[in-house]
């Protein structure tokens, strides 16, 4: 079926809204990244099987929907019963029958599966009443968890593709670009460049053809906003791309998705096929004469390919090495032609900006960082998951009010933002408003939106060492300061973690960092020393403890710690003995066990497996 006019699109929207309303109840099973990892696929199977068998009156099997990430991954797998918005957490296949009988056949609630507010101890029925959700403001994530991730009808029912119709029929390309400029939207991939300006430059570029690329190479470890959007609401990305293509005069677009996201590739391809079928992509879109095609290009698992010029080489089938950008990629990009490269989240914002106006978007957030930003809130925080808040929200609000504070009531130590190019912010920065400029000033960066909370059991030297090793591995090797400089920086970090370093090594690292920043070609090298620089800035004492006292205060660096059995607590269950790979633990059943320090390689398996907490780190 091809939609040949904006009027037809409106009729269809009405039809699909009516279809949604015809469902007396809906079962939404979250199939986002987190819930899939906790077994959501089995929940869907169980629902399908039982609903088919039970044939409940007035309940259509079409009202069972597999949605994208709902947000509160920590409590997953999640199941939501609409229209009431009843929120079931930690659902297992064995609970499915009870949910069907109680909440679908009848109008009641399975109390055992409800969310319990840790502050009050009360159960909460509807997700909208939970702090984690009520404090958010969702634009890029607007449809996640609400619509089927496979069905274009759901997207259209939510008003999808209306912004495209508006742009094509009532706006000139210049007007679209102006609206984007008014919105103040800055690229959500990390660099924070003005999207409107990028589009304006490309629109004016004389050379033809122009290309649109969506950057779905979410390489920052610890970030999954883009994965969630590409899987859970792929049409919002497509609509953003088509509007961009109209604005800059492009006929061909690519979505570059990293190899580690097979489901994103699958759902995007399905969405592209549906959009083609509906006449929202391809020739003569909405009967307006404008044509645009999108192809999915799969990455090969290389972090540097998130960098614009490397990404474009990779799309062209080559090794992803960045080039010097005397001429920006917006003028000389894919196949050396003018190219707009936008991040997934940026593009998902576009339809809302066009529908509601740039000024509306700019009224949110701060003057220089407008709108909202999605974050993956992970690490040692209670409510791990996917969130979206207005720019300028403080770290405290995010970590404590939405995130529910630190797991097991341990002390907050730092929050790592911006991925391997970012930095760590300590407790003294907890009231910092989160926007592009404040984070950069504080020595970190926005990055793509990973927010990794760490407690006192995470060692900052180890964390810096981890990021440096990551960057050494991922450096493409083209330029020496990055390839060799990061390698040496990593070696020195290892030396510190082994208690072998001196204070002179710290000076050496700081000097080396400066040179890497000055001498590297692309963002990977230029920001490579950040994990070290931000931790030394805020946690110099911890570095000195490793160097002077030969001590790792967090109990992580293996060369500086040892594991001991707490004799009063050990009941001789032998669990640690069977898990120890180097046979360093001896003892009989029922007797206190002993760790042979000469054999122990300090892997921590015994500590992790002991349910009586009878092993301590010294």
């Amino acid at each position: 079926m091809r939609i040949d006019s904006p009027q037809r699109l409106q009729e269809l929207q009405k039809e699909y809204v009516a279809r949604e309303k015809s469902f007396a109840k809906k079962v939404l099973v979250c199939c986002g990244p987190g819930c899939l990892a906790s077994g959501a696929a089995q929940i869907v199977e169980e629902f399908k099987k039982l609903l088919k068998k039970k044939r409940i009156k007035k309940f259509s099997v079409e009202a069972l929907k597999e949605t994208g990430c709902h947000g509160l991954c920590q409590q997953g797998p999640l199941v939501v019963i609409e229209p009431k918005g009843i929120f079931y957490t930690k659902v297992k296949p064995k609970h499915v029958e009870e949910i069907i009988e109680t909440s679908i056949r009848k109008d009641e609630v399975v109390t055992d599966l409800l969310y319990t507010d840790p502050k009050t101890g009360q159960t909460i029925e509807r997700y909208a009443d939970i702090d984690f959700y009520s404090r958010q403001h969702r634009i890029a994530l607007r449809n996640l968890g609400k619509i089927s991730q496979y069905d274009i009808r759901d997207y259209i029912a939510q008003g999808g593709y209306q912004a495209l119709a508006k742009a094509l029929t009532t706006m000139t390309p210049d007007e679209v670009v102006d609206e984007m400029t008014k919105s103040g939207l800055r690229g959500r991939g990390g660099a924070g460049f003005s999207t409107g300006r990028k589009w304006a430059t490309c629109l004016k570029a004389k050379e033809q053809p122009h290309y649109v690329i969506c950057n779905g190479d979410e390489g920052d470890p610890g970030a999954f906003m883009d994965r969630a959007i590409m899987e859970g609401d792929p049409h919002s990305v497509l609509e953003g791309m088509i509007i961009c293509a109209y604005a800059i005069g492009s006929k061909d677009g690519y979505i570059y998705v990293r190899e580690e996201y097979p489901l994103a590739v699958q759902n995007l391809q399905l969405a592209i096929d549906q959009a083609n079928e509906y006449g929202l992509l391809g020739e003569n879109i909405l009967g307006n004469g404008f044509s645009f095609n999108i192809k999915v290009s799969r990455g090969g698992g290389a972090f540097v390919c998130g960098e614009s010029s490397a990404l474009m080489k990779s799309v062209a089938g080559e090794v992803g090495e960045p080039r010097a950008k005397y001429v920006r990629s917006v003028l000389k990009g894919l196949f050396d032609k003018p190219t707009v490269l936008n991040n997934v989240e940026s593009l998902a914002n576009v339809p809302v900006i066009i529908s509601e106006g740039g000024e509306q978007f700019a009224s949110l957030g701060t003057p220089k960082s407008t709108g909202t930003k999605a974050f993956s809130l992970v690490g040692k925080v209670c409510n791990t998951g996917l969130i979206e808040v207005p720019m300028g929200t403080t770290l405290r609000e995010i970590i404590y009010d939405i995130g529910g504070g630190i797991q097991n009531d341990r002390p907050f130590k730092a929050v790592q933002t911006g991925g391997p190019s970012g930095g760590c912010l300590p407790e003294s920065k907890i009231n910092l408003p989160v926007d592009f400029d404040s984070l950069t000033e504080a020595g970190s960066m926005m990055g793509s939106g990973g927010m990794i909370v760490v407690d006192d059991r995470t060692c900052v030297v180890d964390l810096a060492k981890y990021f440096l090793s990551f960057l050494v591995e991922e450096s493409c090797g083209k330029c020496t300061p990055c390839r060799e400089g990061l390698y040496q920086l990593h070696r020195l970090a290892v030396k510190i973690s082994e208690g072998e370093a001196t204070e002179a090594d710290l000076d050496k690292m700081e000097k080396l960092s400066e040179m890497i920043i000055i001498g590297s070609l692309c963002g990977l090298g230029k920001s490579g020393p950040n994990p070290f620089l931000s931790t030394i800035r805020y946690f110099r004492d911890e570095y000195l403890a490793h160097i002077k006292d030969k001590r790792c205060p967090a109990g992580v660096c293996r060369a500086l710690i040892r594991y001991e059995v707490i004799t009063d607590k050990c009941d001789g269950c032998m669990a640690c003995i069977s898990t120890c790979a180097v046979h360093a633990i001896t003892g009989k059943k029922g007797e206190v066990h002993v760790i042979d320090q000469d054999k122990c390689d300090k892997c921590g398996a015994c500590y992790a497996i002991c349910t009586r907490h009878a092993i301590e780190v010294i």
Binding site: G222, R227, E259, P262, G300, G301, G317, T579, A605
Partner: protein, 151 residues
């Protein structure tokens, strides 16, 4: 051991015979054979008119490609930042000890391949391990045997 390369022409025919198709073709070969057999690299170079040296360069640049056969059961330990601070290293080491191989290697009987991967985007459930495409979240040391069985 050279695998049956009968399917190769079909894979190459899926895409325009241009250097631009290189990564896509290699991805499909990798998906079919779970690695890139050297004969397949030579054929690809010929068909797409790309020097073999460049095919080799691309095959070794991207982590997604393997030049060695992989095992029946591919265990991938996510070592992204969140998994790292929640104990991925320990999980990796336990698997290495039990399988008696290092990450990136395959057991001699071709039963298991152990790999590490830089973030699969399931950070909220860290640490995460993926066995033949199936995700396991919040993995503990006590889950290692279960992961090796894949259930």
């Amino acid at each position: 051991m050279t695998p049956d390369l009968n399917k190769l022409p079909k894979i190459i025919d899926r895409y325009p015979k241009k250097p631009q198709s290189l990564i896509t073709v290699l991805q499909d070969i990798q998906r079919e054979y779970h690695y890139l057999p050297s004969e397949a690299l030579k054929e690809t170079a010929k068909a797409l008119d790309v020097p073999l040296s460049k095919v080799f360069s691309v095959s070794t640049f991207y982590n997604a490609f393997s030049l060695y056969p992989r095992g029946e059961r591919v265990i991938r330990v996510c070592v992204g930042t969140t998994c790292h601070i929640r104990g991925a290293k320990l999980i990796q080491q336990q698997l290495e000890d039990r399988l008696n191989i290092k990450a990136g290697q395959t057991t001699p009987d071709l039963k298991y391949t152990l790999e590490v991967v830089n973030c699969v985007g399931a950070c909220a459930m860290a640490p995460v391990v993926i066995v033949n495409g199936k995700y396991y979240g919040s993995v503990k040391v006590s889950d290692i045997k279960k992961l090796m069985r894949g259930r």
